[in-house]
């Protein structure tokens, strides 16, 4: 007798000893037994008269819950300077290693964020991101928050690594695009305390001198309202 036959024999013996299955559900009466084959349609019939829950995505887009963890956003201060200081705490907190940051020094000629340091490279790999939000908790300047945008799919892997320009928040109504100097007489602390409420004359002058074509300058803004696509460049 081969080994497998032995196994089958053992299995048969074991099955023979097994008790037959008996359900704990209450036993139906004779009528119930008779209607049993169509009883399942009851669920369908019941739902014919209920409001429909099917979403017509993508034709109709339903907003998710307010605190839904969607795509990240890099916020700006009211005067247009970036809030990100390139501290990499988000990358440190990330359990999926989805964030990569390289910082650099702000200089008078190239002031991107208040203070000494700004994030030169900022990448989030949405193939890795698990939308846990630990990065948001880690961010010391509230530079990184999450939007409700959930349409994060694409044909290429590279395309799902979002760069800084893909993540930066759109310019607000009065914001002046970075880089430009901080509001005169302020420190980075003033920005964090919310003492800066918008760009001042000196900053506008500076940008006008350096980049007269900048679309966020008041005169250019009036001329051609920048579209979302144009800003993303």
């Amino acid at each position: 007798m081969s080994g497998s036959d032995e196994v089958w024999k053992v299995n048969r013996e074991r099955d023979g000893k097994r008790e037959t299955f008996e359900s704990n559900l209450p036993k139906k009466g004779p009528i119930g037994e008779a209607l049993a084959p169509v009883a399942g349609f009851g669920v369908s019939l019941r739902n014919f008269f209920r409001p429909t829950v099917t979403e017509q995505y993508p034709r109709v887009k339903t907003p998710p819950m307010q605190r839904y963890h969607g795509r990240h956003q890099l916020n700006r201060h009211p005067d247009g300077l970036e809030k990100c200081i390139g501290c990499e705490l988000c990358a440190w907190a990330c359990p999926a290693d989805a964030i990569y940051v390289e910082a650099d020094s702000n200089t008078p000629e190239h002031q991107v964020s208040p203070g000494e340091r700004y994030g030169r490279v900022y990448q989030i790999n949405y193939l890795r991101c698990i939308f846990c939000g630990l990065c948001i908790e880690a961010c010391p300047t509230r530079a990184l928050t999450m939007t409700n945008e959930y349409e994060l799919a694409g044909p290429t892997r590279e395309g799902l690594i979002y760069e800084k320009q893909d993540l930066l928040a759109p310019m607000g109504a009065n914001m002046l695009a970075a880089p430009h100097p901080m509001v005169p007489g302020t420190t980075d602390g003033s920005y964090y305390r919310g003492e800066v409420t918008g760009p001042v004359k000196e900053q506008v002058e500076w940008v006008r001198e350096q980049r007269p074509e900048d679309p966020t300058l008041p005169e250019n803004r009036a001329k051609e309202p920048a579209t979302e696509e144009a800003r993303r460049g």
Binding site: I85, G86, C87, E88, L89, A91, W92, E102, A103, D104, S105, G115, E116, R117, P140, T141
Partner: protein
């Protein structure tokens, strides 16, 4: 490699027994409480304490409760917690740290809160964030909340102390590690404490610095101890020992976070000390280099050059593909094409010309190795020159060199293994520096000499006392450049007497080759006084090149080219019929011959034109064909006909032999496609149908170990041994130490060889002449 090399002889030390947190521990007398606690695994938080610096008690973070027996024998507690980093242990002492004493814990928490009062807590933008002792200890030993509600002290920041060091005074906790390092270790106190109380700060005594709060220093700004503006070769160490982010490096500023970095241990390539370093890199780019603790070589310190000079290998002119000169322009080519072109070019340039016998005889080849390559690379260069090109015109000394120096190196340096060590140099009662400027040329050699300031007499045979020599408190034996031999012969009687003390060392630098007779005079001096000789070249690859035989008159292991037996032995090991016997020329000779059109083809390694006094441009122009093995598009690479790219040290593995003769192996830190010189030469040799056998570091080391050092009679003629041989008790350990160093290669790299080594004694050579010990291991 040889961690035990400098272990002091076991002496009976007086032990003191004390109790720390209820654990009884016996430590040598004079031990600090904080060290005793470390020995029983109790960690006391600290900022100012550093094992290599003298105790300061500046930060007060290490407060513990201490009680010691009074005169009546009863335990008497100190009224207040004491700083454990300044108090030495006494018998019967009872120490309660923050783990067992509430008082100590409260004191430590209070100190930490006080230290954080003026700390800006800008950890997110601070380079130290993530590896910061203040951050870590505030987490582990501090209060969760600060009770300080007032305005913090604000300073202008960052303050550039030099091009490389930035000071942020807001973050400073005034531990004085940096100032103590500058005063005690490096000897150039460029920063110091200024002001008192809440205004106390680290500064440069520059009036412009002290501009906060309307305060002005009274009188003229003080100068640093040397009376000069800041200039230090060791300032980068202050960045590494700073326990907060007060001192940061400009090169690493905002570059990375510790969790981003991959750390690879390596060996510094900028001087012949072979200092242990740590290369921190991210995504294939070196971000910073730090000193590794290697007690027998560099202790905790490295030079600023070793620390900051790493960007050279990633500049825009880095070569990644071979270049071939086509129609006068260097164009990129594939490796097979470039190797074939290099071989064809060398062959054509050295082929005898029909009907012109005079030229035919002169069209030789030359190989310039440069002093920066590893032992393996140097070996490959000289093997390529001798086995493929058939010439002895190979020289690694891209500097002033002399025939006398070569004889000296062959007789007393090559193949002698570990000679004078850092530890012996430090303990030497007298050190005579000849043609050697310790601070400029020696890297951490200077720090070792300075460590024994006051216990050691340093004598500089030089035209004047340099700033470095002054810091060593050196005595000057004045001499005109070039008259060193005379000065050595007529040394003052007291110096000569001092040299007769056991352990005295004469250090010869590479500039000793400039004055004819210096080596002879030094050898005479050594043999008449019994002092030991140490040759300390400047470049990392010099000693390795000497060992590998990359000198015109030297074969591997210190064998002389002039010796027929040595040539035969090496030829047999290499599997070639014979080796060239004609005397080779040194770098200057090769270049002079090239300038006159006497060299058909040149193979140039890591040489830059500025290394040499000769007109390199003219020499290259007059040479028929030039092959350059380079990391970057150097001047020589630009003038070459074929350029083969090679790997910089961080992208290859290999061995530097430091001036002690200690093998300093390092592994590849960043893996790239770049090939090391020895591998490129191996590929190039295949174009001649020659199997050079230098494709891997392992194969080169196997060959080197098999060749071993020169045996009796095959080395250069050597001088009689010194009259006052060192006493025998010192002889024995030195011999075994040498064996350790050199046999490590045989054991770790070529495991098969060890099985063939005589099993009776681990160091059989110690019973015989030291020179033959590697020979005995050879099959």
């Amino acid at each position: 490699m040889t961690a035990t090399a400098d272990k002091p002889a076991a002496e009976a030390v007086e032990l003191v027994t004390l109790t720390i947190d209820g654990t009884e521990v016996s430590v040598p007398k004079g031990t600090l409480i904080i060290r005793a606690a470390e020995q029983v695994g109790i960690e006391i938080p600290r900022f100012c304490d550093h094992p290599a610096l003298k105790p300061a008690g500046a930060c007060r973070q290490c407060l513990v409760d201490v009680a010691s027996p009074g005169p009546d024998g009863n335990l008497r507690a100190f009224p207040k917690p004491q700083a454990s980093c300044t108090m030495t242990v006494t018998p019967g002492m009872v120490v309660n740290t923050q783990h067992t004493s509430e008082e100590a814990d409260r004191a430590q928490k209070g100190v930490l809160e006080l230290l954080l009062i003026n700390h800006p807590l800008d950890c997110p933008v601070c380079d130290k964030g993530g590896e910061c002792p203040l951050q870590n200890q505030a987490m582990s030993h501090g209060r969760p909340e600060s009770r300080f509600v007032d305005v913090k002290r604000v300073f202008e920041k960052p303050l550039a102390l030099s091009s490389e060091i930035l000071l942020d005074r807001e973050r400073c906790v005034l531990c004085q590690r940096c100032t103590r390092f500058s005063k005690e270790i490096a000897g150039d106190a460029f920063i110091d404490l200024q002001n008192r109380g809440a205004r106390q700060q680290i500064g440069t005594f520059d009036e412009d610095v002290l501009d906060f709060d309307g305060y002005r220093p009274v009188g003229a700004a003080a100068e640093d101890e040397a009376g000069r503006a800041f200039s230090s070769y060791y300032s980068g160490n202050t960045v590494q020992i700073c326990p907060v982010g007060a001192l940061t490096s400009a090169a690493y500023r905002f570059r990375s976070r510790p969790f981003d970095l991959v750390s690879s241990p390596s060996i510094a390539e900028h001087d012949s000390s072979g200092a242990a370093i740590r290369i921190d890199h991210r995504r294939g780019t070196v971000m910073r280099r730090l000193a590794e603790n290697d007690p027998v070589v560099n202790e905790d310190w490295i030079t600023d050059k070793d620390r900051f000079a790493f960007t050279w290998q990633n500049l825009d002119d880095r070569l990644t593909r071979p270049l071939i000169r086509k129609d006068g322009e260097l164009v990129e080519a594939s490796w097979p094409e470039a190797l074939a072109a290099a071989a064809a070019g060398i062959r054509a340039a050295t082929a005898p010309v029909e009907g012109d016998d005079a030229v035919a005889g002169a069209r030789g080849t030359g190989v310039l190795v440069g002093g920066r390559v590893t032992l393996e690379d140097a070996y490959a260069y000289q093997k390529f020159a001798r086995a493929v090109l058939g010439t002895n015109d190979v020289d690694a000394r891209a500097r002033v060199a002399s025939e006398e120096e070569q004889s000296f190196l062959g007789a007393t340096v090559a193949g002698t293994g570990l000679g004078v060590t850092f530890g012996e140099l430090e303990k030497a009662p007298v050190v005579v520096l000849v043609g050697f400027e310790a601070e400029d040329e020696g890297g951490v050699v200077f720090l070792r000499l300075r460590k024994s300031l006051g216990r050691q007499r340093v004598v500089a045979v030089a035209p004047f006392l340099t700033r470095g020599a002054q810091k060593l408190d050196a005595t000057l034996v004045p001499t005109v450049p070039g008259r060193e031999p005379g000065a050595l012969a007529d040394l003052p009687a007291d110096v000569r007497e001092a040299l007769a003390q056991p352990g005295a060392v004469i250090v010869l630098g590479e500039r000793a080759a400039e004055a004819k007779g210096t080596f002879t005079a030094a050898l005479d001096l050594a043999s008449s006084t019994g002092a030991r000789l140490a040759w300390i070249p400047r470049r990392a690859g010099e000693r390795g090149a000497v060992e590998a035989g990359a000198l015109p008159g030297l074969l591997p292991g210190g064998r002389a080219v002039s010796s027929k037996a040595a040539r035969a032995a090496v030829a047999q090991a290499w599997g070639v019929d014979s080796l060239p016997s004609a005397a080779g020329r040194d770098t200057a000779g090769i270049l002079a011959a090239a300038a006159e059109g006497g060299i058909g083809a040149l193979v140039v390694g890591g040489v830059s034109a500025s290394d040499l006094t000769a007109d390199v441009e003219a020499a290259l122009a007059a040479t028929g064909f030039v092959v350059s093995l380079e990391v970057r598009r150097s001047e020589i690479a630009q003038a070459a006909d074929v350029v083969l790219p090679v790997a910089p040290p961080s992208e290859k593995s290999g061995t530097f032999v430091n001036w002690e003769g200690r093998l300093r192996s390092f592994a590849t830190a960043i893996h790239t496609d770049a090939m090391s010189d020895h591998r490129v030469l191996d590929l190039l040799a295949r174009e001649w149908g020659v199997e050079l056998g230098t494709a891997t570091v392992e194969s080169v080391n196997a060959e080197l170990a098999a060749l071993g050092a020169a045996g009796e009679g095959s080395g250069p003629p050597r001088r009689p041994p010194s009259r006052h041989a060192p006493p025998s008790p010192r002889r024995a350990p030195r011999c075994s130490r040498r064996g350790t160093s050199w046999s490590t290669r045989a054991r770790s790299r070529t495991a098969s060889r060890t099985s063939r080594a005589p099993a009776a004694s681990p160091w059989p050579a110690c019973r015989r002449r030291p020179r033959t010990r590697l020979e005995s291991r050879a099959p």
